[in-house]
């Protein structure tokens, strides 16, 4: 809209000289006919009614001066309707987070770049020490209160600087020396954040601070939350509210009031806001935010759909069954890969279509090998031997796993970035050691001195029995099957291998105690190796089993735990350097990291790029603008990165 009206104001003189501008002028003239009759921005009928009744200001006053324009996938939509989704209770709060994708900055649909959202523009200082963030003048919270720099400053002062709410400074906003970075408001719509080191990943970190994982978001409605904070509110009143709610202290109250999935009264900036319900209800309902700051290219305020209903299911299978029966309009989360055939079979009858969004690179079932196993030192030494891991890798019949466990979907590969991603190390690394070659595997194992006993099974070089174990959590669909298939392949190599299916808490506890030999887990962080908790970073917690002792070593500055090998230490060096350099160097470093992953085989990849994690998508046949392909990952908040505010019913 803005561009069109600018073109119109340049007048007819310029349009003869510049064809593009001329086109714009003609378009503007056409639209001017329309605007003479209607307003430049349009809104949903349910909001127009409220405006007519005088309960809501007109749409021009609700939108910022420069609204975000979201390009729909297929075309301009129409208003109305309800999208029904399923969720599994209060622990499933990220179901909302992913849908809302209410962050300061967002990722593009293909996950390749960071794009404006609440922050309309941002730029670093020359030395990458200082970041300047520009907000949208005129933008409002969902209760109509102006959205200004206060939103960020309140989070900074009330949350980050408060030791009770934030006992230790989160890494993403810490200086190199561990202290809190400096944040200040230049004016109402400009915020500056200053670090004591060149910090190039800051904008990316901002995309993650949307209140996911039931944390407080980096933009908070201070005008509402101040009353629950002793630095601003009335201490007696706060004490009364704490005891009335049966809580222990004010921090619990503040969290409960500040987390949107717990408290429908908290103002928000998302396209839909909770309506008289929370994530612990049987139906969690969201209604359109009348102040949502985004429009489509035709000037229609988004979202198109009026209401979102999350229906509670105690059991994931019951949720899948409801999807098969066509009772859910858009469901990706909790749909199980194993149900894919049943879903396709009933699609026409129940009035939905099934699309698949592959995982964002990495691997959907990698065999992670403990590099620091200490319970049996001789076995530990063997596991840390790269040749042994190569033998394991080429001893796995991946085609069988792909067919039997992944329904023939996905690609056989090592846990490296996706081929379309700039971090991809090349085919020679992605497919390294993935060929099924039991003959060579046996040669390697023989060479390592693992003699076969009378029963055909191998022993350790000392003659002690050799017993491997794969610990597996039935977290995602087919992991126990993958473990069984791998174990039988290993048995063919003469390696006795047990599969232990464990409840996830037990598995996590044993992992932390460094009691596991091997585990099946995925590598879903290969597109984001420098932020969050990358699986390949030995310091991540929870991550995988491959270097638990070194995690302690890093956490205690070398006092306890085990010093990492040069290769593992190199991973940490790469990650630390990447945080401080520009994009080109980051890509070089990421590719080096990916080559190291494929070379060292700490996690032996089987199959990747399947729709295993929330990638089987059931969509109402009449729901439009749902992209056929979306970068699918938690840091991208899928399906939020598909821009649900543009979905509409035909």
């Amino acid at each position: 809209m803005i561009e069109v009206s600018t073109a119109a104001s340049t007048g007819p003189g310029r349009r003869l000289r510049r064809p593009a501008a001329w086109l714009g002028g003609a378009l503007a003239a056409l639209l001017a006919l329309g605007t003479a009759l209607a307003q430049p921005y349009q809104e949903a009928p349910m909001l127009a009614e409220l405006v007519a009744a005088g309960e809501l200001p007109p749409v021009e006053e609700r939108l910022p001066e420069e609204p975000l324009v979201i390009e729909p996938f297929e075309g301009i939509g129409t208003y109305g309707g309800v999208i029904r989704r399923g969720f599994t209770g209060p622990g499933d709060h990220n179901n909302y987070t992913r849908w809302a994708y209410d962050s300061l900055l967002r990722f593009s649909v293909d996950g390749s770049e960071i794009v404006p959202h609440i922050i309309r523009a941002w730029e670093p200082s020359e030395d990458f020490h200082t970041w300047t963030l520009h907000l949208r003048p005129g933008m409002k919270w969902s209760d109509g209160h102006p959205f200004t720099a206060d939103a960020l400053l309140f989070y900074y002062e009330a949350v980050l600087q408060n030791e009770e709410l934030t006992p230790s400074v989160p890494v993403w906003i810490a200086n190199h020396d561990g202290t809190l970075a400096a944040m200040r408001a230049i004016d109402d719509y400009t915020v500056e954040v200053e670090f004591d080191f060149p910090y190039t990943l800051f904008p990316m970190e901002l995309t993650f601070r949307d209140g996911g994982d039931r944390t407080l978001a980096a933009h908070l409605p201070g005008h509402y939350l101040a009353q629950f904070h002793p630095d601003y509110g009335d201490p007696e009143e706060i004490a009364r509210m704490v005891s009335e709610a049966g809580l222990n202290d004010w921090t619990q109250l503040f969290m409960q009031k500040g987390i949107i999935t717990d408290n429908p009264e908290r103002p928000s900036t998302a396209a839909w806001v909770p309506y008289r319900s929370s994530v612990s209800d049987q139906v969690f309902t969201l209604r359109r935010n009348p102040y949502y700051f985004a429009v489509d290219p035709a000037g229609n305020q988004l979202p198109y759909v009026d209401e979102i209903q999350f229906r509670f299911f105690a059991d994931v299978e019951a949720l899948n069954f409801a999807a098969v029966a066509g009772e859910l309009d858009m469901q990706d989360r909790h749909i199980q890969l194993t149900n894919y055939p049943v879903l396709v079979e009933n699609a026409e009858r129940s009035g939905y279509r099934v699309i698949t969004w592959p995982t964002f690179g990495g691997n959907d079932a990698a065999l992670w090998v403990n590099q620091q196993y200490t319970i049996d030192p001789e076995l530990g030494e063997l596991l840390a031997n790269r040749d042994f891991r190569i033998a394991l890798s080429i001893g796995i019949d991946r085609e069988e796993i792909r067919e039997a466990a992944f329904l023939g979907l996905g690609e056989i590969r090592q846990p490296v970035a996706a081929p379309w991603h700039p971090y991809y190390p090349g085919d020679e690394y992605a497919f390294q050691h993935t060929e099924f070659d039991p003959e060579r595997a046996n040669e390697i194992l023989d060479g390592l001195g693992l003699q076969r006993g009378p029963n055909g099974m191998r022993t350790l070089p000392s003659g002690a029995p050799l017993r491997l174990e794969i610990s597996v959590v039935p977290a995602f669909g087919p992991w126990p099957d993958v473990a069984q298939l791998i174990a039988s392949d290993f048995a063919d190599l003469g390696l006795t291998t047990d599969v232990q299916v464990r409840e996830r808490t037990a598995h996590f506890t044993m992992r932390d105690a460094n009691e596991l030999i091997m585990e099946i887990w995925n590598e879903d962080t290969s597109g984001f190796p420098f932020t969050g908790n990358p699986k390949i970073d030995p310091r991540s917690d929870p991550a995988t089993i491959f270097a638990v002792e070194s995690r302690t070593w890093y956490a205690t500055d070398g006092e306890r735990g085990r010093e990492p090998t040069p290769e593992i230490a190199r991973i940490v060096e790469i990650i630390e350097e990447a945080k401080t350099v520009g994009t080109d160097r980051q890509i070089e470093l990421a590719q080096e990291l990916n080559r190291l992953v494929a070379d060292q085989l700490y996690g032996i990849g089987t199959v990747g790029l399947t729709p295993m994690i929330q990638g089987v998508v059931v969509v109402n046949a009449n729901l439009a603008n749902v992209p056929d392909l979306v970068a699918n990952d938690w840091p991208l908040r899928t399906p939020g990165d598909a821009r649900p505010e543009t979905f509409f019913y035909r």
Partner: protein, 329 residues
């Protein structure tokens, strides 16, 4: 009799104390705590908390305190009549359990009544027409009913309902009534949903009770008092219903005590499969997620119900059979 009831009631607090200790200890037995399992759940969704966040949460939940302290905190608030707050749901346990318990009891009582209404007549007919075609038919049906796991039956019925009528028969309410306040429309909606799980839950019990009634009645029918009544010319149906049947269903009544907790927990798999908003799935979730205060509270409530159920069945027995006198025992 009054003394007997009072005596029984007097030991309830002691039993509850023991139950509370056992329940709490059992819930604490698996490795980790609520946060470990919460972190594991988040990791499953692809996300993770950093150590600073985990520490803050552990402190907030009071999980950094010793276990005995956590126990006394819980019991202390229970004594004050406060059922505490669920770690996972962040709501008061009373609120969470309240309506679910009501629905569970409605479902349980309904399926119990269904069971008795179907099982006792079948038992009587089978016994009085022993070795007839009807008896054989019921016998076969009974064994099939007894041998079919109820969750299997639920799954089959759900699939049939979807395949034939294109509807999913999960839950106890239509989505529009799930959250609504109680009204006639909501009650009617509940009634239109509750019959299927009621039957599913009742089928195995029906088969069992029908067999028990049949066997007991067969014993009674040949006894001298029955012959006597017959000799005096009492119509057969009147005779059967008035005397032997009363004796025959006594064991059925005495099973009431364990029937209630069995239905509460036995209905668990069915409730999970059919996504029923009852207490069973809530307890399962609380146990898996190590939401110890919620799980402990539900288990305590189950214990209270079992104690009450046993008491009620004892009293009913005394009423039903005048030969049983509590004071003499």
């Amino acid at each position: 009799m009054h003394w007997y009831i009072l005596k029984r009631l007097a030991i309830v607090p002691l039993m509850l104390f023991l139950f509370s200790v056992i329940a709490f200890a059992l819930i604490q037995a698996p490795p980790g705590d609520f946060l470990t399992s919460y972190i594991a759940e988040l990791a499953q969704g692809g996300s993770s908390l950093d150590q600073a966040q985990i520490d803050a949460l552990r402190r907030q939940y009071g999980l950094d305190r010793p276990i005995y302290e956590q126990y006394f905190l819980w019991v202390g608030s229970l004594l004050k009549g406060d059922l505490g707050i669920s770690l996972e749901w962040r709501r008061s346990n009373a609120e969470l359990i309240g309506e679910r318990l009501l629905l569970t009891l409605a479902l349980t009582t309904g399926s119990l009544i269904f069971t008795w209404l179907v099982a006792i007549p079948i038992g009587i007919v089978s016994a009085t027409r022993q070795y007839s075609a009807v008896d054989y038919l019921f016998t076969v049906l009974n064994y099939v009913g007894l041998a079919t796991p109820n969750f299997m039956l639920a799954l089959v019925l759900m699939w049939v309902a979807f395949d034939r009528f294109g509807v999913s028969v999960t839950g106890l309410f239509s989505p529009e009534y799930a959250q609504a306040p109680w009204s006639w429309a909501r009650f009617a909606d509940l009634m239109s949903h509750i019959w299927l799980p009621m039957i599913v839950l009742g089928v195995a019990g029906t088969a069992q009770i029908a067999r028990v009634v049949r066997a007991n009645l067969l014993d009674e029918l040949g006894k001298p008092y029955a012959e006597m009544a017959r000799a005096k010319g009492l119509p057969e149906w009147k005779l059967v219903l008035k005397y032997p049947t009363r004796v025959a269903i006594a064991p059925v009544v005495s099973t009431l005590g364990w029937y209630f907790p069995q239905l509460l927990s036995g209905g668990l798999v069915v409730s999970v499969v059919m996504s029923l908003p009852t207490v069973g799935p809530l307890l399962l979730r609380a146990l898996v997620g190590q939401d110890m205060y919620l799980a402990g509270t539900i288990i305590l409530i189950f214990c209270v119900l079992t104690v009450i159920g046993t008491l009620v069945s004892d009293i009913l027995l005394a009423v039903l059979d005048p030969r049983i006198r509590m004071d003499a025992a």
